[in-house]
Amino acid sequence: MARVFIIDPVCAMEYGHSLNALKYFADLASHHFDEVHMVASQHLPRPADGSDDGVIRFFDFHYDYVLKIDRAPAPLELMHVPGQRLSPEAAATVEFSRFMTAYDIGPEDTLLYPSIDHYSALSLANVVGGLHPHQCPALLVRMIAVMEMTALNMTNPDAFTVVIDRLKGLLNVGLPLSICAETPTFGNVLRQRLGQPVHIVPYFAPGIDPLDIPQDGPITFLSGGSARPDKGFFRLKPIIEGVLTRLDPSQVRFIIQGPPDATFAAHTDYMRWLYSLPNAEILPGQVPYTEIVRSFRDSHVALMPYAQDVYANRGSAMLMEALMFGRLAICQAGTGFADQARLYNAGATCGTEDDFADAIVMFAQKSPEMIREQAALARRYYLEDVDRSCRAWIQAEAA
């Protein structure tokens, strides 16, 4: 019987992208395997209605220094070695060994990581590295240039190098390991570092239908998500100032998500400036999903002036959600997701704030119908690409 375990030990929150990705890959894998299991963090909250969501809660969480989660009490069997404090790598390794034993993982099984994290990669290498290839389960590892590079007491490049070296070690001894990247840019990086081709499987936001595009009023640009420097929140001022030198405020509109309460006070002057704009709607820092949908419904184009260095290899959930909702995007050039935007003809890519202002002016002069048509085509290209690449990866390994 062919079993596949879709594993994400960092999936510890009921919101965000991890749980969606787990379910999406589980659904896709169900076409190729007899049994599909989803395995997440033991801290993943259970559904409020008491229903069984089918997710096995197993792994501990080792990223408290970057991510705050609501921890569940730890079951005794996961408390590592009593009386001994373990490093995150050692703890993750103990957990992964226990997982392999608990589920009697063997060479007929497949382990699929939708977005592997640093300590999962290390623990995987530590445990399966000692196996003979014919004893080892098939390993499908997807990398998105986020949590692989996040390690305690290590810089991102160093942490990434450690992961690459360990995975290379597995490949060198002939273990059945298949790597895929979220973006073509990151795929290139992995190919060069690992010395072998990798698959490309973009981020996918399942279950999102396209929304009708607003026909009345000016073209509206959405700056959603976290109001953080790396997401370009503080580039909005020069961008909007540039737009207002070219267009009248009645010709263009912005919806901007502000910072959460905890950081609002540090940006009061900036927020006062944003609030005084005659053509901007400012959303609170935390909004329910219904409000996120509403903000997409009321807009035409997503604005993504993200930090090029931070997102050099990374994809963006915002871009994919924009595509799924039937919206275009203006993306920072030189990022992993800018290549995808170009591939799907999903909007424009820009370098400087002036370029962003020019692109906004250009889209503001289009009709809503033109934007809708281009977004619908981009959505189709994207869906076809995701479907094709995802099936190709899993099918190749399942075969």
Binding site: P82, R85, D248, A265, A266, S276, P278, E281
Partner: protein, 519 residues
């Protein structure tokens, strides 16, 4: 010192007794200006509202102010907040920049149990930065209620000289506008008691009309209908109904660059901001820009008004979910609150001095969560300055602590990272410590020793459990501590617990609160 008036509900479709009762405490001045009526009408959609007007220059009569209302909304009478917190009410303060911006930080720190409805972005940020729960609401005039400006061929000004002594007065308008206006209407009643000087009307190169009283609202509207430039009369505003109405009309608003003006006006886009000392503002040579400002002002209000109306349910929910304040019954507390409120009435500096002087009272109100039982034991007739010292170790602690050996702050407590940790509490006076009470736990059972200065105050090591427990340490002989040295506590345990939970951090024991009894 107060009067009350029952406001008749506008939307009174439900029987009154089905809604929770809400007391709205308003400034007596607003009985005349009706400035908060718009808010009361919103409150009435969810509450049975009674309004009491307070004159802040008169002594506070707490007995008559506090009734059986579950909710208390305080409108621009911020200084009354501790009174209602001490009464255990669900307290919401409506803050205005012009009234609240000058309050010291300690005011917010003391009144964290209240929630804040802020009409100013700037003030909202300040309340948040001081650990308060604040909701930003932005008022916009209904654009349908005013007549839009249609004629922008000439510039016709309106100026209400409310505060001539502030520098925003007719000479400033004359200097700033020069000969650009084709007509100016001046409304003359001054808030600061200044007597209008007709000579100030001279020197303008255009006809100037003036009024001192509008018999009817329509008389005021007629004057505004004839103007297309509005010179805002104050340096800063609470909400700014008048300039927002002017923007709704599409008038070009010229306003001083302070909140709330600069929270609605994007300079030279939908209005014009000036700084004190401005010499001139040139409109006449850029009339296309002036027309754009007019259109953008109207656009701002049209869009903003929709959002304002949509925010009403969230505002009501914010009020409805306000937790009731929790307060200890503590000797001297009520008297100290009275003293703090009385100090407010003497001015800003005496108020800040009082907040500093009664730091224990302030602390007690800010960090109420762990003192349910200790306070009842306070002697009934304790002098006001002999209140105990309370320290809450979790988030929200406003007492400045120095110490070492502690991990990051958590919601209700703080962990020590190793075998020993210390903290020094600042004192505002010399004290004699008669006892200490701790709420503490350890990761696993161990023995705790507590030192105050160099003196061990645990007669024998105390057992710490895995759950928080109250540990009372009476002192056989009072220990004196001076204000210059403060109180230095050192807590140590006999062993560092071995990690046996999922938490990878280095943790040993945790403290929720510390209560120092003084005699």
């Amino acid at each position: 010192m107060f009067s009350k008036k029952k406001i008749t509900p506008v939307l009174g479709s439900k029987p009154r007794n089905t809604k929770p009762r809400l007391l709205f405490v308003d400034h007596v001045f607003h009985r005349k200006t009706r400035s908060f009526d718009f808010l009361v009408r919103i409150f009435e959609q969810g509450f049975d509202v009674e309004t009491k007007y307070v004159d802040p220059s008169l002594p506070v009569d707490a007995a008559q102010l506090i009734d059986d209302s579950e909710y208390v909304v305080i409108g621009q009478m911020d200084f009354l907040t501790p009174l209602f917190i001490a009464a255990g009410k669900k307290v919401i303060v409506v803050q205005m920049y012009d009234g609240s911006a000058g309050l010291p930080d300690t005011h917010w720190q003391m009144n964290r149990q209240a929630r804040y409805l802020n009409f100013s972005t700037t003030l909202h940020g300040r309340a948040l930065s001081l650990g308060c729960d604040s909701m930003l609401v932005r008022y916009f005039t209904d654009p349908a209620s005013v007549k839009p400006v249609t004629d922008m061929d000439t510039l016709r000004g309106f100026f209400w000289q409310r505060l001539p002594k502030s520098g925003i007065n007719l000479p400033m308008v004359r200097r700033m506008m020069g000969d650009q206006l084709s007509h100016l209407h001046v409304h003359t009643p001054a808030d600061d008691g200044s007597v209008f000087n007709e000579a100030d009307l001279e020197g303008f190169d255009c006809p100037v009309t003036h009024s001192s009283w509008f018999e009817k609202q329509s008389d005021f509207a007629a004057v505004m209908d004839n103007a297309n430039v509005f010179i805002a009369p104050r340096h800063a505003e609470g909400i700014g109904h008048a300039f927002l109405e002017a923007m709704a009309r599409g008038m070009v608003v010229i306003a001083h660059d302070l909140p709330t003006h600069n929270e609605y006006i994007h300079n030279w886009t939908n209005g014009i901001l000036f700084s004190q000392g401005v010499q001139s503002i040139n409109l006449r040579d850029q009339m296309d820009k002036v027309r754009a400002i007019s259109a953008n002002a109207r656009l701002t209000i049209e869009r903003g008004h929709k959002a304002w109306v949509q925010s009403h349910p969230a505002m009501l929910e914010f009020i409805r979910t306000t937790p009731a304040a929790q307060m200890v019954k503590h000797a001297g507390l009520s008297a100290n609150i009275d003293r703090i409120m009385a100090a407010y009435q003497q001015g800003r500096d005496p108020y800040e001095d009082a907040l500093n002087r009664f730091s224990e009272t302030r602390q007690l109100m800010a960090s109420w969560r762990d003192f349910e039982t200790e306070a009842d034991q306070a002697p009934k007739n304790a002098p006001a300055d002999q209140t105990d010292i309370h320290v809450f170790m979790g988030e929200g602690n406003s007492r400045p602590l120095t110490g070492s050996g502690w991990s990051v702050i958590e919601a209700t407590h703080r962990w020590a990272v190793a075998q020993e940790a210390d903290m020094t509490l600042p004192l505002t006076r010399d004290v004699a410590v008669t006892g200490v009470t701790l709420m503490a736990r350890a990761l696993e059972p161990c023995k705790l020793t507590v030192r105050l200065g160099d003196t061990v105050i645990t007669s024998a090591p105390v057992e710490l459990k895995e759950t928080f427990a109250r540990i009372h340490l009476p002192l056989a002989k009072p220990l004196r501590a001076s204000a210059s040295d403060g109180l230095k506590f050192t807590l140590s345990i006999d062993k560092v617990p071995a990690p046996h939970s999922h938490d990878p951090r280095s943790l040993s024991f945790a403290v929720k609160s510390l209560n120092v009894q003084t005699g």
